[in-house]
Symmetry: C2
Subunit: 300 residues, 2 copies
């Protein structure tokens, strides 16, 4: 009953650091390892007491691994860790690929009796839970998800991986009714050609659906603010009653919220049958620590 859940963190960037803080704050968890090829360069107070491992093969004690890597390198870590008997939680943010990724990880997880929680951030993630709520509360109608204004971590990382880009910031600007503009600020290496970088960005699946502006700046770090937000609104019909209006809004530090949701999902992973799950497939009570009846008395 008093045994703590043993957590490992893979990747020690913005989300990984916040995840370490959130695990420290969770009374039912302990951090047993950290894997990051460049973590020694980024050493921070939170990392002080955490055993730093060279590879994921050195995590025999961990029960759940939080995959705080860029989305595009994440699946490989998930495949290996699930097969090693370790549950995984990721914040994979590529909407059109996550359903297939879940199916693939579900098979590995079932074979190795582990649990993968896929896309455990805020969108995809907790916003997805709210979209489902809105849908069954008013089955006919429209839901709009308006992001920002704020820095998209997934989009910024995608740009940073382009050859010639030294640093990048992708801002999401809401234009209303679920339409967005992307404002991308890039800091280039001396030999890079701006026109080439701009073309690659605009063709990337992360950007090609949206109106995207790319601007070259001297120092991206001067522009960084990790705040973000969302405004979801549905106007719909319950039964035959129209004009049912529901809204969800938040203003948050993006990596801190993402990491906190991942930590709660690590807890939820311990309560699921082997398989792979998106957040909408898990009862919300499973993300909370404590006695079931106490939680019902407090929150229902």
């Amino acid at each position: 009953m008093n045994k703590k859940i043993r957590i490992a963190i893979i990747g020690y960037g913005n989300i990984g650091r916040c995840a370490a803080e959130a695990v420290h704050m969770a009374e039912d968890m302990e951090l047993v390892g950290l894997v990051d090829p460049i973590a020694s360069l980024n050493s921070s107070p939170e990392a002080a007491g955490i055993p730093l491992m060279a590879t994921i093969d050195d995590l025999p004690e961990a029960q759940v691994a939080l995959l705080c890597t860029p989305s595009r390198v994440m699946p490989d870590y998930a495949r290996k860790l699930l097969a090693q008997g370790i549950n995984t939680v990721d914040c994979y943010d590529i909407h059109h690929d996550l359903a297939d990724l879940r199916l693939e990880l579900a098979e590995i997880a079932q074979t190795h009796k582990t649990v993968a929680i896929v896309s455990a951030g805020w969108d995809p993630g907790t916003d997805s839970i709210i979209r489902c709520l809105f849908q069954f509360m008013a089955p006919h109608g429209l839901t709009y998800t308006n992001f920002g204004p704020g820095m998209s971590m997934g989009h910024s990382v995608a740009v940073k991986s382009i050859k010639g880009v030294e640093n990048a910031l992708s801002m999401t600007i809401p234009l209303g009714a679920g339409v967005h503009r992307r404002m991308v600020y890039v800091q280039l290496t001396p030999e890079a050609e701006f026109a080439y970088v701009e073309r690659v960005i605009k063709k990337d699946p992360y950007f090609r659906e949206d109106d995207t502006y790319v601007k070259q700046v001297a120092d991206v770090n001067q522009l960084i603010d990790m705040g973000h937000g969302v405004h979801m609104i549905r106007k719909g019909v319950s039964g035959s009653t129209h004009n049912q209006i529901m809204e969800f809004k938040m203003s948050i530090n993006n990596p801190a919220l993402t990491a906190q949701i991942m930590v709660a999902s690590a807890r939820a992973s311990m309560k699921q049958q082997p398989g792979a799950y998106t957040l909408i497939q898990i009862p919300v009570i499973d993300f909370l620590h404590g006695d079931l009846d106490d939680i019902i008395r407090q929150y229902v």
Copy 2:
């Protein structure tokens, strides 16, 4: 796969009528019976084609019963129907009793291999899901649930059951930070004494926690508007990052939304193991009709 879920409705007041409409709109359900001692007096177009039963013993075909009765008479119906092999969905709204009621119904449901969904309205209900979300997204901080302004059906029905009250309307007025005033409008029978009615209302568990004003009026029906709303707000801490702000707001027709949530819960009841559940114990995907992977692709 194409078999429709067979639904019965118990009680044909405001929520019962809306429930009939919501079942008619749901492609995966059919209404097989209606039980109401006074339904013949209230006949409406929606009730036209529905077999009207005298008692719940006449519902052999139903798989799920929607209990659209006042909260205080609901548990007796649930006990009997669960023992008859019929799942139940209720919108029991007495917050401090629902956890114990769930435990009692869970035992009956497990014995008879049925499912009870308890407190499947919007608060308790979908608001409870959002309170849990807010809690695990920012584990330290305060959540305020501000209701109204709007008509509370549960409170109005509780007042109507007092001797001497011919008709009643209880309005919930938000005062901020989760504090409310109750404005109760009563229409009395000729022999009733206002001071007595006022005293009974103020001592009732539905009212005794709140600042309650009781006013006598000639005709309550002139005041009725079924609109209601809620504004939930949490300011809290994710990991060690403060000032994470999240809000949920809605403006809705109260019986229509309550009935729609009950209908979605009837669907969810078909996917649970025997037992009794509040909404926070059920994955949100279970409330939606359709293929699991399609839903993930569409809403996550």
